[in-house]
Structures are given as C-alpha cells and as structure tokens.
Amino acid sequence: MSEPKKQLSRREMLRRGALGAGLAGVAGTAAVLAARTARSGTVWQLDPEKCIQCGNCAVNCVLDPSAVRVVHAFALCGYCDLCFGYFPPGFEPDDEFETPGAESQLCPTGAILRRWTEGPHFEYTIDEALCIGCGKCVKGCGAFGNGSLFLQVRHNRCLNCNECSIAAACPAGAYRRVPADHPYLLKGEDQKA
C-alpha cells in the first residue's frame, strides 16, 4: 500500500519540475518574442506597383463585394478626355462632352463618374460603393494612361483577417502587412500624405 503512495509523490515531484520547465519555457518565449514585437498592429495592403490586375482581388476576399476598391491619385491623372480606364478599348464617343450610358463604359458596375472640369479635361471620381475591385479600369489606365487608378484594400471595409485570403491567392505577391498607422500604399503625390 505504501508503494503506490511513494510512486505518486515521485511522479508529483517530476511534474512540479516539468511545471517549472514549462513556466521557464513560456517566459523565455515571451522574452524572445518581446524583442520582435511591434507596439502597433498591422493591416493588409497591396502594392500597386506589383499588382497585375488579375481579378483575384474581386473574388478572393472573404467579403463580397471585396474590401478592395479602386482609388484615384488625382495628382497623377491626365484628366484625359478619352480615358482608358473609363471607355472600353476602341470606343469613339460622338460628343466628347457627353457622359455615355453604362453600356459604353469599361467599368462593369458604372462606378466611375466623369465630370468636365475645363478645356479638354475631365475629372474621374470613384463611386466606391459600386466598385467591386475588378481592376479593369486600373488595367486600362495603367496600360495606356498615366496609371493614376489603382487598387487598394479599403480599411473601412477590410476585416483585417490574420491571413488575407486575397494575399494567399495573389499571383504577384503584391500583398504585405503594413503598419496600421500607414495603412495605404498610394501612388504619386499622395504617397507623402
């Protein structure tokens, strides 16, 4: 009868020792980690210089429609009357001051608004609520225009998933974690902002 009692206490001692080791291990991990810790959180953002507008941003986000939308760096825009992010390739408007119907626009959801400013110049703004992040306009503007339209993860929408589903699918490796206090990778003038 005394045999199991003694065994039990020996096991108990072993366990206490292991507990000490466990505490030391967790504390050690915490200490090592402390040296590689950032105060502030991170968010996901895509680098517009890497993006090839493959279309994954529109369909791979856990949100539907995607948290990725197009943004416009007005400072880079040529205010072109024949905008390649706005008109489908080969489009010939009858009258350059006319705003064409949705069927004549490149954007599948008519999310880009066109407004005359002065001379031959038109302003293009995004109705972000309509944009689905397909990147068609970005491709057009990047290939033939100034590249002032580009995609960004919009942080008023993004859930900041621990692993962004689009990042996992992006063929360009364009996604990375950025500090939450610099949550955008903008083009042109706005980069400084």
Partner: protein, 447 residues
Amino acid sequence: MNRHATAAAVLAILAALLAGAAPAVERFALPQFKSGYVRPATEVPAPRADLYDWLDVSALAAALAAASYLAIRARSRRGLWWLAVMSLAYFGFWRGGCACAVGATQNVALALGGGGYAVPAAVALFFILPLAATLFFGRTFCAGVCPLGALQELVVVRPLRVPAWLEHSLGLLAYIYLGAAVLFAATGSAFVICEYDPFVSIFRLAPLGRPASTMNALGGSTGMLVLGAAFLAAGLFIGRPYCRWLCPYGAILRLLGRVSRWRVTITPEECIKCRLCEDACPFGAIRRPTGDWPRGERLIERRRLAVLLVIAAALLAAGAGLGWRLVGPMSRMHHTVRQADRVRLEETGQVEGTVDLSDAFYATHRPPAELYAEAAAVEASFARASPLFGAWVGLVLGAKLIQLSVRRTRTDYEPDRAACVSCGRCFAYCPIERERWKKASGGTNAS
C-alpha cells in the same frame, strides 16, 4: 482633334505595353487648371484603432480569469456555459474570429522564423496569455474562452464514445498539424491554420457590430463554409472534433496541461469509484482507476521502455530523413518558389504560354536569375526547417508509443490532464459532488 492625337499616341505605346501592368508614367501631361479647379485628395479611411486590439486583449485576460475561476474554484458548469456563449459572441461573431490564439501561433512562428516580421504586441499576448493560464489552471482557455472551442462546445448533443485506438491515432494529427503550421509560417509561405480554419467562415456570416451590407461573407470561402458546417454536424455526435484531433494550439495546451499547477477535478473530495462519471465526458477525457500493477513486471517494463526509446530515436531520424526528401514539394508552398518554377519552365521552353503567376514576374522587368536566386534562398530555409519538421513528426510518434507503454497507477476516476477541456460536465455526475453542493448551499443546488 485632341482626342484623335491622343488615340494615335496611345496606339503607338500599345505595342510596347503588352505586358499589362505598368507603374505610374506620365504619358499625358498633367493639366494646369486655370479655372480654379482643385484636385480632390485621395480618400484614405483609417483602419480600426489600435485601442480595439487592447480591448480584445483585456477581454481575453478577463475571460481567462473568469474561466479559471469558474472551472477550479466555483466549479460551475453553468457559469462556464455562459462564458462560452459570451466568448463566442465577442471573439467569434463580433471580432470575426481573427482575435485568435490558435492563429496567433503562426504570427509568433513567423516572427521567430527570422524574416524580419515584428509580431504586434496584442497578437503576441493572445498567444502567450492562454499558455501561461494553462500552466496554472489547465486548459481553462478551451472551456470558455476560445471561440472555436465554444462553438463546438455548444453543439454537443449526443456524444458517441470513440474507441481508444482511434482517439490515440487521430490525436496525433494535431501535433503534426502544429509542426506543419509552424514550418509554413516560419518560412513565410502560408498561414495554413487560418486558411483551413473550418469555423471562421461561420463567424463571418453574422453581421454582429458591422453593417449587414459588408457581411455577405461567402466570397471566396464557400468551400470552407461547407467544411465548417460538416464539422458542426459531426460535432453533434462527436464532442469537439476539431479540438480533439486537429487544433494545433490545443496540441501545445495539451503538453502544458499535463504539468499544470491546478486542474479540474471531478470532485475535490474523495472518489468512491461508483463509476457514475465514467461516460460523463463527451470528449473521452475521464480515465478509470488502474488498480495495482503486478510487481514482478518492473524489469520487463524497463526493457520494453529501452526498446521503445531506441525505436523513438529511429523514428525521429527517419522523420528527419523524410523531411529532407520533401524539401522540394514543401517549398512550393512559398509564392516565390512557385513563381520561379513556372518562370523556369517557360524560359526553358518546357511549357508554352504564360499564366498570371509568370506574367506578374515579367511585369517587374527583372532578370529571371534574380527570381531564381530568391527562390533558392527560400529553398535553403526549407532545407533547414523541413527535416526539423520531419523529426518532430517522428518524435510525436515515438512519444506516443512510449506514452502507451508506460503504466500509470491511478487510484481514482480522474480527468486526463491533457484531454480535459475543463468544461465541467462531469461535476453533476458525481454523487459526492452533489452531496457537497447540498451541504454548501443548504439544499438548493447552485450549479
């Protein structure tokens, strides 16, 4: 006129730009506005404030304290149940599942992997706090804090008994999954725990605290939603299938739970071996008393242990070898390696045509040699990490063999330290415990 000139200019550029993406280039002069038109600024809505991360950490700490108190001191199953409901609502549905200790394991691995990633302090605390709590109180995190556990906890209706051999074998999966998750996270390849989290798509379905329009969350994850539903359906009859056999964080908690300072007991008083609690645990965590082992067998046992140690060492070596053989396929989890492989196939004419993966590289106008060098560096890190992963798998198998052969003496019915998730179901099955309640509350049953 103007328009046609631009159109002609554009057609000329067209040929040069078939690669598709192009960085900002000033093809068209920036207009100088004379009418007083002011260019709008690009809108940049801010993310959720950091403050909320600290709210999450505080909620975690408070929930851990509450779970430990309810499981160890108050011994209240009802309290734990309500805590699970609240944690599920907060960490699960409100926070969308991503304030998560299970997933934080990967952030920690990535930070320790040496790629220069700094883990946000809040995420580091999500990883560390439950581990520390487990060392003191056992797996109380699993009882009522973890949203994945809480969701499974609440759907158990008719748990079936899983045969011991199956339980032991499936239980190994979690350790292997942990090893794989650490490997892929530390090498910066993927966060597989997040990618294959069966429940997160369920959490994202309900629009708690967010405009419903932003929460039509099926995009890109329909398959995972189906998997989540399957896990929940299975969870009706098999208690916590994810926790028991897959959860990588649970694997760490099991190890720590074995040595915890305090833990859940079926009753704090003496067990009378009435066997009433034998089937109380839906997770198969209650162990029977063993009785005394015959004394003469000590020597045989020692010999067997020696043999098993040798086998374990062999398994470890074999695992490392296998890990070494698998460096190639494993490293393809990394984007750079996949891209380099594809570009190499195209450059050497082994495949025709391009795909998005290679187009993305050509659009950078970098020489392929650079990409190959980057991929080689990634493969080198896999060459170090992959044998370690293999050795880990071997170690897990070996340790299981040894664990199965070592005879423990148990005099009472008691929850297994590793397997018990501290849910408190067994309390009510114990007649001694019921007696204790009666005494404590003067007849009215508090829990």
